[in-house]
Structures are given as C-alpha cells and as structure tokens.
C-alpha cells in the first residue's frame, strides 16, 4: 500500500510499504477514507520528540471503512464506516474503566521504554513515536486498529467525512479541555490558540454552557474562524499591549474563570536547555509558545481552572508559585477520546457541532508531504489539511 513515512527531520515521503494484517483477534483492518494533519506531528517532524525511526508511517487522526475483522470482534462489522480516536485503548484495565483512556495500561508495546521517560507508560498511539508504541499511522491506504470493539465508533448516516474526521482527535481533545473547566452559568473561558484543537475547545466551552469564550492568537484568518465559526470574542496578542490587561478589562477585573492552553511547545530534554534558550531568542514563535502557558497562568482568576491541552516536554521557568498562591486547579491529559466521541457524534447529528470548517485543504495521499509543508507554514490560510488516501 502507499503511506506517508517519516525518514528524518523535515523529511516526509510517500512510499510503498507492506499492507497491515490482522495480528490479534480483536483487530480490524480499516480502509482509510480520510486522515488529517495535527500540530503535534510537527514536534517530531521538526525533530524535537525522540524515538522516531526512519520509515515510520505517521498520522493519528483518521476514519475509514472496516474491510476485515479479527475472530473476537463482535460489535464492529465489515463494511462499517467508523471514526477511531488516536489513542489505542483496551477497555479492560483500571484506567479505561475509569474513563482515563489515554492512560490505558495494555496497549503500549514499548511501555518499559516510555516508563523511563514518564515514570509510568501511557496508551499507544497510531504513528506517533516508538515511546508511544511505535504503531503504524493512518496517513496510509490501510491501518490495523486493535481492540476494535472499544476503539471504533460507527458513524451515523448523513454525515460527511469532513464533519467526522476531526472527532478522532481535535474535537475530543478540545471537548475534554472544556470539560476540565467544570463550566458554570456565567463563566468566561479564555482559550490560547486557534488551531484545530483550540477552535474545538472554544466550541465545546459554548456547548458546555460558557457565557463567553475569548480566543487568543495572532493569525487573522484563525481569529476570524474563531469569531465566525465558533462565536468567540477574539484578542490578537500582537495588537494589544497586554493580554492580561485586555482579559481583565473584559471580565470586570476578575479574570477568566478558566484558561485553556491549546498551544503547546516543542518538547525539550534537559540536555537541550541551552538550545532551547537560543531558540527562544531566535524564533519568535517559540517564545510565544512558551509564553502562552505562563500568560494563561497569570490571567486565570483566583481559584480558577487551568486546562492544558498543548503538548509539552520538560519546561523550565514554570511559575508554580503563581498557581499555588492563586489556588488554581490544573487539569491536563492527552485525549480520553473514547469518553467523548459518542456525545460529539450526537452533537454533530443534531447540527450543534460541525467541525468541517477546519478542513481548509483537501489533498490526495500522494500530495501529503506537500500538505504538511502548507500546514506547518500556515500557508494559504491553512487550518488543517485532510488527506484522501483512496483518491487517485
């Protein structure tokens, strides 16, 4: 089959690789009909997250049609059109049974390697480094999906692929971030970042009852998407003297009840500390990314909630004293998608959520390496590129 492979830093190529096969009895093989870029992919494309290997098939946000089922798969049938969360979850362990899906104990073949980094292992992910399992990704014509009865969600009729594909990751991640905020009537939620996850977090905050959502970014077209597609109030941080003061002025001096960080930063080990500091000086975007989280910590009201969705490595100058003295609640996780996909499908069926506006670019799989270039550079007002692996 054809698949998009990582071959080194900034070296993506579409190659012919072996087809996936059923390995375990709970597996299915999916014919991928649509997949999409994710900002977190840029971390390893840029070489900041370790344990990629040349030849790895990437891509973790996808949907498709079931073409083959393992002997123990009961609910999911051949021919089903399904969307699959990016984390692979067994459904049986303590974490899955407590809705902490991305912490599943039983799906990371490289758990011992990852424990050295985190103390304990997370679940495996499709196409996202060997520390996170090493599973082949979904920017491919076919993908093997383990634990299919737990991880495949049948798509209701009448929905287009563009409305559904983001329910694999961007939408449940954003929804989880808003859910962490424990939103009450009258609440103001501020969201740093207007990429796919940030926009979904903003939309979800409204779905969960926020009075007002404030979106913060610097790209005019992304801020426009926040206003027009979500209904958020926006702040272009390049056009205000102080985001903190702007937020205080908008909230009668109280500050937002909750702040969501949907920005993240490139992961750095401690050995790369000096490089990190140089990068902070050299690349304005990097500085801004580091600043976003600190800014959110300063801006959130006393006793409020800080919800972190951005992907981080080891961060220096983290103002824990501000968090402590203001009595903040910090909630964070990789997405617990299996908890949220069913209700997001319902919101979509009811017309309350239409994530298809994220798909600003459509490309064939053969064009996917260029697709990542457009996405990475935010060229042509790109929010997300969707790939059509079955298109010629």
């Amino acid at each position: 089959m054809r698949a998009l492979c990582w071959n080194g830093v900034n070296d993506l190529r579409v190659e012919t690789v072996p087809d996936p096969v059923i390995v375990n009895p709970d597996d299915v093989i999916l014919r991928v009909t649509m997949s999409t870029t994710c900002g977190s992919d840029l971390h390893f494309i840029d070489g900041y997250i370790p344990s990629m290997r040349a030849g790895d098939v990437i891509g973790h946000e996808f949907m498709g049609e079931v073409v083959e089922t393992g002997r123990d798969v009961k609910k999911i049938k051949k021919g089903d059109r399904v969307v699959v969360p990016s984390f692979i979850c067994c459904g049986q362990c303590w974490y899955c049974q407590h809705d902490l899906w991305s912490l599943c104990d039983n799906t990371n073949p490289n758990a011992e390697m990852q424990s050295a980094l985190l103390g304990y292992p997370t679940a495996g992910i499709y196409g996202y480094t060997h520390a996170f399992g090493g599973f082949a990704g979904a920017h491919a014509q076919y993908v093997r999906v383990p634990h299919a009865d737990v991880d495949c969600f049948v798509v209701p009729e009448g929905l287009r692929d563009e409305q559904v594909v983001f329910l694999s990751d961007a939408a449940p991640t954003g929804y989880m971030g808003a859910d962490f905020c424990n939103i009450h009537p009258g609440d103001t939620v501020a969201v740093w970042g207007c990429g796919g996850v940030g926009l979904m977090a903003q939309k979800s905050a409204y779905l969960l009852g926020a009075e007002r959502v404030i979106a913060i970014d610097r790209y005019p077209e992304r801020l426009r998407a926040a206003r027009e597609n979500v209904g958020a109030v926006t702040i272009n941080y390049e056009e205000v003297d102080s985001v903190l003061e702007a937020l205080q002025d908008m909230t009668g001096g109280r500050g937002p009840d909750s702040c969501i960080d949907a920005v993240g930063m490139e992961a750095h080990g401690t050995g790369l500390q000096y490089k990190y500091d140089r990068l902070k000086q050299a690349l304005r975007m990097e500085t801004d990314r580091g600043d976003a989280l600190r800014e959110a910590i300063m801006a959130v009201r006393k006793g409020g909630t800080l919800s972190i969705l951005g992907v981080y490595g080891v961060m220096d100058k983290f103002p824990i004293g501000v968090i402590m003295n203001k009595g903040l609640t910090v909630r964070t996780a990789q997405q617990h998608g299996q908890k949220y996909v069913p209700r997001l499908l319902q919101h979509t069926v009811k017309g309350e959520l239409d994530a298809s506006f994220l798909a600003t670019h459509r490309m064939s799989l053969e064009e996917s390496a260029q697709g990542y270039e457009v996405f990475k550079n935010k060229a042509e007002d790109c929010l997300r590129v969707v790939f059509l692996p079955q298109a010629a």
């Binding site: 089959m1 698949a3 492979c5 071959n7 190529r13 190659e15 690789v17 072996p18 087809d19 996936p20 096969v21 390995v23 375990n24 009895p25 709970d26 344990s51 290997r53 040349a54 030849g55 790895d56 098939v57 123990d72 692979i88 067994c90 049986q92 362990c93 303590w94 049974q97 104990d105 039983n106 799906t107 990371n108 073949p109 490289n110 758990a111 011992e112 390697m113 424990s115 495996g124 060997h130 399992g133 090493g134 599973f135 082949a136 491919a140 093997r144 383990p146 634990h147």
Partner: protein, 239 residues
C-alpha cells in the same frame, strides 16, 4: 556473642578495624558521654573487623556477609531484581493463569523459550547479551495456591537462578498486586557480576516486561504488538 554468626563482609572487616582504631584512640584520653559512645562504636568496628561479627548489626538485623540459603546454589548477594504490577483480577485467578505452562511460555516469550519437561521440571532457553545461549531446567520450590510460586534452576547450569512470583490483594477492588523476583548467579564469579552490573537496568526491564505481558494477557487476552507493523523498513518491528 560467641553463638553469633558472621554478619560482616570481608572488605568491610578490613575497613572496620582501621576506622574503629582511629575512632577509639583519641577518645581514651578524656571521659565523657560523647566520648564513651564514640568508644563503644569504635569497639564495635574493631570487633566486627577482627571477628566478622557486629553486635550493632545483630541488634539492627543487618547482615552483609550472607552466603547461600540452605540447599540453594545461589549466593544471597547475587543481583536480585524485583518488579511489581497491579492486575484487575483475583489472586486465585492470577495464580491459576501463571501455573498454566502455555501461559507461562507466553509471559516469558520476550526473553526465554520456556517448555515443560515430562518429569515435571521446566526447560528454559535464554539468549544472553553476547548472543550466547543459556539453558537450564528449573523446578518448583514453593507452590502455595493463590499466593506464591517459587522456582530454582537444577544443578549443572552455568547460569544458576531462582525466581518467585507473589500475589497479594490490592486495596479498594483494584484486583491483585503481583511481585516478581528473579535472582541470577552471574557466570565467572566476580567478572560475571560486573557484566551484570554493566547491563544496568536490562534485567529490570525484562522482569517488568514479563509482568506487563502477564497483565495484558490476563486483562485483554492478547499482547500489544508491532508484529507485521507496516513501515518503510518492511514489517515486524521491534524497537
């Protein structure tokens, strides 16, 4: 003190005599509580150095000279690994699963081929760090249904070893806590011990992986795997 066993290792005995002497000599000049305590400590050091016995160690229950347990070929001082995991099943269920020979072979398959012998013992084949093969037969030394299984290699192997798995209830309906202990007598004595040391955490990773495999097999009926994993490198990944 005459009935006491030696509980101080050889190197520590030499250091003890020297340190004890240095501690006592100046304290004998002046009498005080502090000096008396120091002198007693010094006396203990000299005593343990000369006789290999430390009254202080026996009070505290320490022993740095322990050799083999009765009937065992394994030096007590050989490197021992312990790893633990919590599995959402009862002790009895886990015990039964581990005692099944086919299951045990699955659990250990990442580092050993484990096959049952007709005489009740179990045959192990392990590829060593320098690609050499180690083989041994092991026999159960303890079999307590629902709580503990222990085994030890039979005489004649170049890599004597023993292991045990212990099952305990986990609090709050979390299932069971499982402890895996493995101890290997390194080949070539001291040189082998330094090889084992050089391997660092590898034996710990092997034991940890065995427990994770055990858990996944019990909880999900399968193992997470990269077998036949598509990539530009071909298939069947192992990082």
């Amino acid at each position: 003190m005459t009935t006491q066993v030696n509980n101080v290792g050889a190197a520590e005995r030499i250091v003890s005599v020297a340190a004890g002497g240095l501690l006592i000599a100046p304290l004998l000049r002046k009498v005080s509580v502090v000096n008396a305590t120091g002198a007693l400590l010094g006396l203990d050091l000299v005593c343990r150095g000369v006789r290999g016995q430390s009254p202080l160690y026996s009070v505290l229950g320490f022993n740095t000279a322990a050799k083999r347990k009765p009937g065992s070929q394994i030096e007590a001082a050989s490197p021992e690994i312990q790893r633990s995991i919590t599995i959402g099943r009862s002790k009895e269920e886990l015990y039964q699963f581990w005692r099944n020979e086919t299951n045990l072979a699955h659990i250990m398959a990442h580092f050993a081929d484990v096959t049952p012998r007709t005489n009740g013992s179990t045959h192990w084949r392990v590829r060593g760090p320098l690609k050499q093969m180690f083989e041994w037969d092991s026999q159960l030394t303890t079999d307590e249904p629902g709580s503990r299984i222990a085994w030890e290699s039979l005489p004649g192997t170049e890599l004597p070893n023993r292991g045990e798995v212990i099952f305990k209830d986990a609090a709050g309906g979390r299932g069971s806590e499982v402890f895996l202990r493995m101890q290997f007598e390194p080949p070539l004595g001291a040189a082998g011990a330094s090889i084992v040391k050089a391997l660092g955490k590898v034996p710990r990773l092997i034991a940890g992986a065995a427990l994770r495999r055990f858990k996944s097999l019990v909880e999900t009926g399968e193992l997470p795997t990269l077998a036949h994993n598509p990539s530009g490198r071909g298939t069947s990944d192992r990082y």
